[in-house]
Amino acid sequence: MIAISNLQVSRGGRSTLDLPAWRVQAGAMALVTGPSGSGKTTLLHVLAGLLRPDRGSVEIDGVAIGALAEPARDAFRAGRIGVVFQTQRLMQSLTVTGNLALALRLARRSADRRRMTDVLGRLDIAHLASRRPRSLSVGEAQRAAIARAIVAGPRLLLADEPTSALDDAHAEAAIDLLCAEARACDATLVVASHDARIFERFDTRLSLERSS
């Protein structure tokens, strides 16, 4: 699913990520750990095609994403990758349903109401469908953000520090949800976190060191 070799990324003249090799099997639940500044977020951004590596190759589903031109990377991301951010990012000007419909349209899928209702129902937030993001609680917004990330049926689900703002019970629940949803749409899950509470939930782990 993911095959990385000799990856090097630098931002603003500083090397932020140096990863000789990493492989993740399709359908695996992978965890990327490391102190802040070790490049966890950078790795997720590279996997999402938001950052272009300076050196090395990144293949996702056999596609060398680093070699694609930007519009092709945008399209690849829209169709095959879902991203959940540390803070529950949703489009403020759209309702929860509007956010899901936008994700579907960007993935060139029809905004199928039943599919959206299914996803919201599975995440137990069907009653929030027509609410604006700013009127949601942190937990509700997180579920809505997960719904937005998975609604188009991604092959790869990326989550950046999904539990850092949550207490033990909610952190547990959030990881349960991510794993369950990744499994439900047969996606590979990569979570970047320095949260020790969730380590044992993952079978594949990658530990990054702060680069010198």
Binding site: R11, T41, T42, H45, A48, L50, L51, E70, P71, D74, A75, F76, R77, A78, G79, I81, V83, F85, T87, R89, L90, M91, Q92, S93, L94, G98, L102, A103, R105, L106, A107, R148
Partner: protein, 390 residues
């Protein structure tokens, strides 16, 4: 398609801001449109009405007032001249055609003009039904006046003293003998009767003391018109004026006001564009995270660029549409409420190609206002922005 959805969402999200920007744009376009319609239509009407009349000769006074009264039938006349003087001018060898006219009476605000057959020849007017008047107290009605007054051949009416509505009524009855074919000029709005009728209703002076209000003259050559004007103005107690010159003078008088209004319209459109610019820029600043999120969801740079540019363009387009409509409504309302506006031939029901220029200018202003914010959206560093707290 995605950009359109985002524009609609942005409007729904901030309806007051969107409405304010749209209304400001609409106000600027409405003022510009009304001004354009007014100047084009009144200009065309004046040029059309004065066609074929090279010179107007009347009593001492303002030449502009003389032309406005005797050619365009808007102002009141300067006074009267002796009929003998009018006949002497008509007999001048440089004159191709001359028509003495008598003004002073009206029917419910529609002017009665005393004139002979030369008047119809000058205006190239002929009856559509009935015939031209031959005897005193017979009248032929212009097409618009006939329709609005509901007069037909065989009807009779009372003239009222004065040119406004509600003057004293004369006792004498006019008889309608014909209705003129529409010419699209001032004669459509006049009621024409022989000069004798005017003299009869105003106390029938002796043959030697008869007067006219003015003489309308078509000369054989343009040079003759200038020479004759010079002679009349220096050698007699009368005033001669050339309609095109006076119309031009009128426009230079109202021109300063029109320039101020035009500046005002440009200012309004500029302010609207500036407010769109400020609105989009603050949107870009506050919603940088949303733009980065859009990109993370797979939107291209071009889509987010288009969404912001489209927002400016859509505001301008909606404002321009509303403004064009408001401008037409304003002119039409003015034409219906004021008889002077009607005399100028104003109507909100016809469009002018110049409106295309106004709409283009408004769209250009909207596009320009949105360009810098849109470029900002295009250049948002997604990875960097997503790493920051929202």
């Amino acid at each position: 398609m995605i950009a359109l959805g985002l524009i609609a969402a942005a409007w729904r999200d901030r309806p007051l801001t969107a409405a304010l920007h749209t209304l400001m744009m609409a106000a600027g376009v409405a003022v510009a449109t009304a001004l354009l319609l007014f100047s084009v239509q009144s200009d065309r009407r004046l040029a059309h009405d004065a066609r074929g009349i090279d010179l107007v000769i009347g009593a001492k006074g303002s030449p502009l007032q003389l032309v406005m009264a005797a050619v365009f039938h808007i102002d009141v006349p300067t006074g009267n001249i002796a009929l003998a003087d009018a006949q002497r001018i008509a007999a001048d060898p440089r004159v191709a055609r001359a028509a003495a006219i008598g003004l002073g009476d009206s029917v419910r605000g529609w002017r009665i003009v005393g004139a002979d057959a030369a008047f119809f020849a000058l205006h190239e007017a002929a009856p559509a039904i009935g015939r031209l008047p031959e005897a005193p107290m017979e009248a032929v009605i212009g097409a618009d006046a006939a329709r609005r007054l509901g007069l037909r051949p065989g009807d009779s009416f009372h003239g009222a003293h004065g040119l406004g509505e509600g003057g004293d009524h004369h006792d004498e009855d006019y008889t309608v003998v014909g209705v003129l074919a529409a010419r699209g000029s001032v004669i459509d709005r006049l009621i024409v009767t022989p000069l004798e009728s005017i003299w009869a209703t105003h106390g029938a002076p002796a043959e030697t003391a008869r007067e006219a209000t003015a003489v309308l003259v078509r000369t054989k050559t343009p040079f003759a018109a200038m020479a004759l004007k010079q002679e009349v103005n220096t050698g007699t107690t009368m005033v001669a004026a050339r309609p095109p010159e006076e119309a031009a003078r009128l426009f230079s008088l109202v021109g300063a006001g029109a320039d101020a209004m035009r500046g005002f319209a440009v200012l309004l459109i500029g302010l609207a564009a500036l407010s769109v610019f400020a609105g989009l820029l603050s949107l870009l600043r506050e919603r940088r995270g949303d733009i980065a999120l859009l990109r993370a969801m797979g939107a291209t740079r071009v889509t987010v660029f288009g969404a912001l540019l489209g927002q400016g363009l859509a505001t301008a387009a909606l404002g321009a549409g509303i403004g064009i409509g408001l401008g037409h409504i304003a002119i039409e309302a003015f034409a219906r409420m004021s008889s002077q506006a009607r005399e100028l031939g104003l109507t909100g029901l016809s469009a002018h190609p110049g409106e295309f220029v106004i709409v283009t200018a408004a769209l250009g202003a909207g596009l320009l206002a949105a360009l810098i914010p849109a470029i900002g959206a295009y250049r948002v560093d997604v990875a960097q922005t997503l790493s920051e707290a929202p």
